[in-house]
């Protein structure tokens, strides 16, 4: 009898003979996304739970040192590993402060929700008068009220009174925070503006004047740039360090460096102006507190940069949407227009109107400085050119203007977060992750969880500006070395967080968006690039839930067919893969994102809810 053909049990009998199914070829660095734990984590009120991540610390009896009361530099023996903050009581060093933090979180969150509505008296009047986009941007809850921006040191007093044991450690950290730079405040400053406005030259020259770049190096840049026929870029070379940037004379990625003035320690982020590099500009700006917007005053050039298609407006709107509240407008290249007061006034008038009426900056938070990055006029020294001295009184230099900026309140009382903006190796210390501490603080010896890989690691060293530190706080740009984790688990876009309160990861979110001046309407199914902190990822607008009144935030229409320019809406966005995100109500700075399409910024958004995380999606499919 002929063989019995196999039936149901072998439904695809031929498959074995044919080419086996091969997954799409991909060289993706493996991420351990599959092991992501259930990701919607609400801070637990239980102090026991909050302690879990630190039990090991107690077991191994790592004792922390008393925080130094003197400014840090005096006690920097070079070995960062040895620098620890001591806690008077060894028992669960950070668990109790956590409980306190949670209370504050709730309080803050409520405050933030309230802040989303711009119905308070302060703004009401301006909305009526102001142009649409501006009120829209304000509706995004962008702070700027006196209440929120104030001297940070004052505001850092503990909000609640913790129980005696933990009080000491918390106060120590706070004391450390307020003492660490002496009187100097930390400021993250991004330099933005249309391509070739002179951003890098201006800042390179400033760094030179402040002594951050020595004469010898500067001389070398002059010689070498001359050889390439690019001698006018010598100062820009201070920041444009890659070979491509130098040969092409264009900044491509954000350069980061640090300088000090009398009153401030400034982390400078020099953004690229070219429109193709806006993703990098967004990365830089999302780490900044304040901005210098550089304008090319040259006849014709200001107009090109300012008109539609130029990057002046786009940069300003991006900065405002990403939480930058104060801006100094540096009217640059004044040498090319003979220091003309008339032209200066024309530019400041146009920009002032745009920044306050459309971009949503408060009038008091916009200042102007005439200067020349090339000649170095009015950067750190009072102007000397007679044509400028003649009309520019009282004169304020760029540095003086920077000194007047106020740092924002840093969320150091929230759980630790650091969005990784770079991973690199360094001789001696192995692999480093870099980024800005988004909230909380971090010390060598801390256990952290790396999301979305869900791997734990221990912080080996914390560096600020290449110097080892005993602690770094929200707002600090740091390099961290980790132990106990492989480099493949940490990528740009990963988030290091407090193990007792890890970040959320999402594949689908609900968000409030404010739409910019777009060419075609947004419909459901619209593909976009989602820009968040240091990453950009493809995403799709999945649902248009409601269209909002831009001034009041009220729902105008449910389930609109499409969203047109300058409108505001609540939408659902699906991400191609899981991203670490925060709700705007929990972490203002970490709940913002931008949407771009076809090389244009189409909307600014705030994360309102995580609709789906990886786990749930897997469970469903």
């Amino acid at each position: 009898m002929p063989g019995v053909g196999s039936d149901k049990q072998l439904p695809a009998s031929e498959t074995a003979l044919s080419t086996p199914y091969t997954a799409p070829t991909s060289y993706t660095v493996p991420t351990a996304a599959a092991v992501v734990k259930p990701t919607i984590v609400t801070p637990s009120a239980s102090s026991v739970k909050a302690t879990v991540g630190f039990l090991e610390k107690e077991d191994t009896v790592v004792k922390k040192q008393t925080p130094p009361v003197s400014p840090l530099p005096s006690k920097k023996p070079g070995d960062a590993g040895g620098l620890k903050l001591k806690v008077s009581v060894a028992n669960s060093p950070r668990s109790s402060p956590k409980t306190v933090q949670q209370q504050t979180n709730v309080k803050k969150a409520e405050g933030a929700v309230g802040g989303m509505d711009v119905r308070d008296g302060d703004n009401a009047g301006r909305e009526m008068a102001g142009s649409n986009l501006r009120s829209a941007v304000e509706m995004m809850g962008l702070e700027g009220d006196e209440g929120t921006i104030q001297s940070s040191v004052n505001s850092m007093k503990p909000v609640a009174t913790p129980k005696s044991k933990s009080k000491a450690s918390r106060l120590d950290v706070m004391a450390e925070y307020s003492k660490r730079h002496g009187d100097k405040e930390l400021l993250n400053l991004v330099v933005i503006g249309h391509v070739d406005a002179g951003k890098s030259t201006l800042m390179g020259h400033l760094l030179y004047q402040l002594g951050s770049v020595n004469k010898k190096t500067m001389h070398k840049y002059e010689q070498e740039s001359k050889k390439l026929g690019k001698s006018s870029f010598a100062f820009a070379w201070v920041l444009d360090e890659t070979e491509e940037e130098r040969t092409r004379g264009v900044t491509m990625d954000v350069a980061q460096t640090r300088f000090e003035t009398d009153k401030k320690i400034v982390t400078l982020l020099d953004a690229p102006g070219h429109k193709d590099f806006i993703p990098n500009m967004i990365t830089g700006t999302s780490q900044a507190d304040v901005a210098v917007l550089v304008i090319n005053a040259t006849r014709g050039e200001f107009e090109t940069g300012f008109d539609a298609g130029g990057q002046t407006r786009e940069h300003a709107l991006l900065a405002r949407s990403l939480g930058v509240g104060q801006v100094i407008v540096a009217v640059n290249k004044m040498d090319t227009i003979d220091w003309s007061q008339e032209r200066y006034q024309l530019i400041t008038k146009k920009l002032g109107q745009f920044l306050t009426r459309q971009a949503g900056f408060r009038e008091a938070d916009v200042t102007f400085v005439p200067c020349s990055g090339l000649s170095g006029e009015n950067l750190s020294r009072p102007p000397a050119v007679p044509e400028l001295v003649a009309w520019y009184t009282p004169a304020t230099t760029l540095v003086e203007q920077i000194d007047k900026l106020r740092p924002p309140v840093r969320p150091i009382d929230k759980p630790f977060r650091l969005n990784v903006s770079d991973v690199f190796t360094r001789v001696g210390s192995g692999f480093n992750v870099a980024g800005r501490v988004g909230s909380g603080f971090v010390q060598p010896g801390d256990k952290v969880i790396i999301m979305p890989a869900a791997m734990t690691a221990t912080v080996k060293n914390v560096f600020i500006d290449d110097a080892p530190e005993a602690v770094a706080f929200a707002g600090d740009q740091v390099n961290i070395t980790l132990s106990g984790v492989d480099m493949v688990n940490v990528n740009i876009g990963s988030c290091l967080c407090d193990p007792s309160s890890p970040t959320k990861s999402a594949t689908r979110i609900r968000a409030k968006i404010v739409i910019f001046n777009i060419a075609v309407p947004i419909t459901k199914g619209f593909p976009v690039v989602f820009h968040y902190q240091s990453i950009n990822e493809p995403a799709v607008i999945k649902r248009l839930l409601s269209q909002l009144n831009r001034s009041t935030g009220e729902v105008v229409k449910r389930k609109p067919r499409c969203l047109v320019k300058n409108s505001s809406a609540v939408v659902e966005i699906e991400l191609e893969r899981s991203l670490c995100l925060e709700l705007y109500t929990d972490f203002k700075d970490l709940g913002r994102f931008m949407l771009r399409s076809g090389g244009h910024t189409i909307a600014a958004g705030l994360v309102e809810e995580i609709v789906q995380s990886k786990m749930r999606q897997n469970g469903l499919s």
Partner: protein, 385 residues
């Protein structure tokens, strides 16, 4: 595709016998075969024989089977179609009603029988058998750290490789790491390129990126090709075209295909035509929203009013398992055509077709404005997930 035989009665019931000749034809086959059809092709079957001593012997035999289709799976990597269902013809090796999966691949003849060949399927056969030559296109869309190597045929965009590397950023005093990272990234693209690009069929290679990545990479590619003495790359230098895209993500292909420089170079412009049609839809939505609708209910209403000038519809809708759904879309297409409207059937494998799919799969540009009917609102959401 070669059409060997066509055997239909006047009710359009009957069969066709086809031989797929290129990878594109497998996509056409995928769009022709539907659940409920019967398919006949040679196939390989594992057969168990029991010898007199009782030992079981498994062997593989080649035989011809006819199955009633229950499941269809298109494998874009191998470009084969797996059709599974029950055997409906008596066979030496396979019992009636036994399950089997037939693999359709290039150069393997098959006969497909349908109760009713509708306008969409008949048109698909004509299109598939049109001998007009078309050039295959390779596009590399990239940005620093991300690249997609895609093969584009008239009706398919196939991602052959996705390269993703994290590149250390520019950093004070450590810029060489950035350069090294970039080169590592470029080398991976080159490897993928050598593996997947066959210049015998590829007539054009697009390299698209924002900024200078495309220029930088192309320079690097040719320098490496010289070093490796890769003659094929060097000899085909004239086939490379550099073009701007706003990102390295796949959906940026839309911008690339819409670039007039590119359209001019392509002999087949189906993909570009679809991009254009979708752009036109969005432009209309901007300028006159009452003349641009999406969603099947809205489009049907517009069709009833003979208002549709251009209907955009994703071929995915005609692959619906639900026969009544399928019929609904076929009659929408037929009615638009009867009234002199233009119908564009988008390939769901192209980026614009993907987007149309997300936009309910069907959209229309109207001849005259039609006010929006409020009560139909919730339709927007029905086909959401």
């Amino acid at each position: 595709m070669k059409l060997l035989q066509r055997d239909m009665d006047k009710t359009n019931s009957g069969s066709v016998t086809l031989v797929p000749e290129e990878s594109e034809d497998m996509w056409h086959a995928y769009n022709l075969v539907a659940v409920g059809d019967t398919i006949r092709s040679t196939t390989i079957r594992k057969v168990q024989t029991e010898s007199a001593t009782g030992s079981v012997n498994v062997s593989k035999v080649r035989t011809t089977l006819t199955v009633q289709v229950e499941g269809i799976d298109f494998d874009t990597q191998a470009c084969v179609l797996r059709v599974s269902g029950r055997n409906i013809s008596e066979n030496q090796y396979v019992k009636m009603g036994a399950y089997h999966t037939v693999i359709l691949e290039m150069n393997r003849q098959f006969t497909l029988n349908k109760q009713e060949w509708d306008s969409i399927t008949l048109e698909r056969i004509d299109q598939a058998c049109d001998p007009a030559q078309h050039a295959d296109l390779v596009a590399i869309v990239m940005q620093e750290g991300i690249a997609h190597l895609c093969l584009i045929t008239p009706s398919m965009t196939l991602v052959r490789a996705k390269i993703e590397t994290s590149i250390p950023r520019k950093r004070k005093g450590l810029c060489d790491q950035h350069t090294k990272g970039l080169h590592r990234f470029y080398n991976q693209i080159i490897q993928a390129f050598q593996r997947h690009v066959n210049f015998d069929i590829v007539k054009c290679v697009l390299i698209a990126s924002p900024g200078f990545v495309k220029d930088h990479f192309t320079d690097y590619l040719f320098a490496e090709a010289m070093k490796m003495d890769d003659k094929t790359i060097i000899e085909n230098k004239s086939k490379f075209v550099l073009v701007h895209s706003s990102s390295g993500f796949k959906h940026s292909l839309k911008e690339v295909l819409a670039d007039p420089v590119i359209t001019a170079r392509l002999s087949d412009t189906k993909a570009a035509g679809e991009v254009k049609a979708l752009d036109d839809f969005y432009t209309m939505l901007q300028t006159d929203p009452d003349r641009a609708y999406y969603g099947v209910k809205h489009c049907e209403r517009a069709a009833e009013n003979q208002a549709i000038e251009i209907l955009l519809v994703s071929d995915e809708l005609f692959r619906s398992q639900d026969i009544s759904q399928r019929k609904r879309y076929v009659s929408l297409v037929d009615s638009v055509r009867e009234n002199g409207g233009d119908v564009r059937i988008f390939s769901s494998l192209h980026v614009s077709g993907e987007q149309l799919g997300q936009l309910s799969g069907v959209a229309a540009i109207l001849r005259f404005p039609m006010p929006e009917e409020e009560e139909e609102e919730d339709e927007n959401d029905s086909d959401d997930d």
